[in-house]
């Protein structure tokens, strides 16, 4: 605009007051337009009641060693597996270099970027708690319970053939990441709370590895 607008008022190529008003008005319109547009975009994000359903309590006293339950949390499955000693030993006897994804994918406070050792994926070694949607395209992997646990006899996603191990870490197949560990803690010996408030998180006992 300055190229075309500067000359007539005798200021040469210098920006004129009119240029300033022009740009200021255009800028105000752009910011105003953005402000008006935002509510119409943001309305599609999770609503307050959806967010409020963020935490649940699960009684795990009936889950015996070597079995597992699937609970619905935030509209999606979460696997809670009571592991046997052998399973734990198996999960811990894995070299980090054997893992396609070396991040523990633990969503609890202080665990960002922790290495994918089994110890960084469980609060109590006997209970493995992970989100139950394959990190490839979101299918629910089948479990060893159904004898379709895949090559590592833990979880196998039938959609595109991802194999997870006894710590629910991706070992083979198209899934890029380990099944994520949701934020949780043990409210008592037998009750798990999924979804934490900040205070509880601070006391939940996750160690930064």
């Amino acid at each position: 605009m300055t190229e075309h607008n500067g000359a007539p008022d005798g200021h040469g190529q210098e920006p004129s007051r009119r240029d300033f008003i022009y740009i200021a008005a255009g800028g105000a319109a752009a910011v105003g337009g953005g402000l008006v547009a935002w509510p119409f975009v943001d309305q599609m994000n999770p609503a307050a009641d959806t967010l409020a359903l963020g935490s649940i309590r699960v009684d795990v006293s009936q889950v015996s060693a070597g079995s597992e339950i699937t609970v619905m949390w935030r509209g999606a499955p979460v696997f809670i597996r009571h592991r046997t000693e052998e399973e734990i030993a198996d999960a811990r006897d894995v070299d980090l270099s054997a893992l396609p994804d070396e991040d523990a994918r633990n969503e609890n406070a202080g665990m960002e970027g922790a290495p994918a050792y089994d110890a960084n994926r469980v609060l109590r070694p006997e209970f493995l708690i992970v989100k139950g949607n394959c990190t490839h395209l979101g299918c629910v992997p089948t479990s060893q319970e159904t004898s379709q646990g895949g090559e590592y006899e833990a979880w196998y996603c039938p959609c595109h053939g991802s194999h997870y191990d006894k710590s629910a870490r991706i070992r083979r197949g198209p899934a890029p990441e380990n099944l994520p560990v949701p934020d949780y803690f043990f409210e008592s010996e037998t009750v798990v709370k999924l979804g934490l408030s900040g205070e509880e998180a601070a006391n939940s006992g996750w160690a930064v590895a």
Binding site: V41, M44, N45, P46, A47, T50, T70, M72, R74, G75, A76, P77, G132, N133, H136, L137, G138, C139, V140, C157, P158, C159, H160, G161, P174, A175, P176
Partner: protein, 436 residues
């Protein structure tokens, strides 16, 4: 081909109207006296067929929306209620579900017609691009429509496709949550998909208007790919749209509708998937998720990328390849370097085109199969399992050809191929002699 208008209002009212809103003139010039090449074959009838199917989908869809309930606990039952209890609901629901499939059959034939006869070449680039926009809108509409019955395939198809967005670096997760309106595909997702599924057909209708507008500037292409001559000799190259092409299109529409009716009335569910008669269950994934047949080739391309490409991991690579397969159509007018429009006069490229069609069908086949299934068996391994040529490899091969057709074959063939001699004019092509 937008020449001077030949419309002459006959009555006092039409003269009065013509001075104020020349809408009859617009219709006359567009669909009655519109000069149309005299050599159009039946491949040119799919435009009219598509217009009919857009109307069928909109009308049947508006009716279904009067009975459908977009709620995760009621959607599945409300569709079953439409099929069983609503008067003629069985017919209207079947028309809508099968109509989508027939819409896609017609659009694919329409697109292959354009690819074979060079309909995308100058001066019809914008016309072609608008067509690709319509195709994208159709895909979005069909995808969201398939989610609405809230069966197992609806739910898990939505899950897989929305998770593709999550493959985008940095913003993927936030966009996915924004699309879902929650932490997973759920009520919010279903409700907004219903809203958008109702909206998009009208957007399609608007872009179809632009598509026809862009068509009526240069006029129709034709099987020999020659321009209509200028001046009086041009009249010998063309026929008025009515009655010649209204009747030809009308005949094709009736034949197509007969096939459509066969599906609607005698095999309404044959194109559907049995799993979609099971209500959506977020805890149980069907063993084998497949999209509707008209998305299978792209699904095969998505799954063909099983390896990382530099910094792009396999998942993102697959997504990019799938969207790239459609995006490449936008630049096709500038990838094909040949000035000869019709493949009739391109002896080599014609074969590459035929293989391209076969590749698309083959990709569809791969999309329907498990990647580890075998195309053919070549023997047995030590444990007695069959080994052979996997569908994954077949799909990768065909994906390679799909992209090579656009990125290598078309650019090179335009330079090295010697086209066959073309007739002097459309008239000469039809009548066998050059009378001009």
């Amino acid at each position: 081909m937008s020449g001077p208008s030949t419309y002459e209002p006959k009555s006092g009212f039409t003269r009065w109207l013509d001075d104020r809103l020349p809408i009859i003139r617009l219709g006359w010039d567009s669909f009655v006296d519109f000069p149309t090449p005299r050599n159009l074959n039946y491949w040119w009838t799919f435009g009219g067929i598509l217009a009919v199917f857009l109307m069928i989908q909109i009308i049947s869809g508006i009716i279904l929306a009067m009975h459908y309930v977009p709620h995760e606990s009621m959607a599945f039952d409300s569709v079953e209620r439409i099929r069983r209890d609503v008067n003629f609901g069985w017919m209207i629901q079947s028309m809508h579900a099968n109509g989508a499939a027939f819409f896609f059959v017609a659009v694919y034939l329409h697109m292959f017609r354009g690819l074979y006869y060079g309909s995308y070449k100058a001066p019809r680039e914008i016309l072609w691009i608008l067509g690709v926009v319509i195709y994208l809108l159709m895909m979005a509409t069909a995808f969201m429509g398939y989610v609405l019955p809230w069966g197992q395939m609806s739910y898990w198809g939505a899950m897989v496709i929305t998770n593709l967005i999550g493959a985008l670096p940095f913003v993927g997760d936030a966009i996915r949550e924004w699309l879902w309106g929650g932490f997973s595909v759920g009520q919010a997702t279903l409700n907004r998909f219903f809203s958008l599924h109702y909206l998009l057909p009208f957007v399609i209708a608007g872009v179809v208007g632009l598509h026809i507008w862009a068509l009526h500037v240069p006029g129709n292409g034709n099987p020999v790919g020659l321009d209509v001559r200028k001046g009086d000799s041009g009249k010998k190259d063309t026929l008025p749209f009515h009655p010649y092409y209204t009747v030809k299109d009308g005949f094709a529409i009736i034949v197509y509708l007969m096939v459509f009716a066969t599906f609607v009335f005698f095999m309404p569910n044959v194109l559907g998937h049995a799993d979609n008669f099971i209500e959506a269950n977020p805890l149980s994934t069907p063993a084998h998720i497949v999209p509707e047949w008209y998305f299978l080739p792209f699904y095969a391309i998505l799954r063909a990328v099983t390896f990382d490409i530099g910094p792009i991991d396999a998942k993102l690579g697959g997504v990019l390849a799938m969207f790239g397969a459609i995006a490449i159509l936008f630049v096709l007018p500038w990838l094909d370097t040949s000035r000869v429009r019709s493949m009739r006069y391109r002896p080599l490229t014609r074969w590459f085109f035929i293989f391209f069609v076969l590749a698309c069908l083959g990709l569809g086949w791969c999309g329907a199969k498990n990647p580890d299934d075998l195309v053919f068996v070549m023997g047995h391994d030590a444990e007695g399992h069959e080994v052979g040529f996997k569908f994954l490899w077949f799909g990768q091969l065909l994906t390679l050809y799909y992209f090579a057709y656009f990125l290598v074959i078309l650019p090179i063939m335009g330079i090295i191929e010697k086209p066959k001699e073309r007739p002097a004019s459309i008239e000469a092509a039809v009548l066998g002699t050059d009378k001009s």
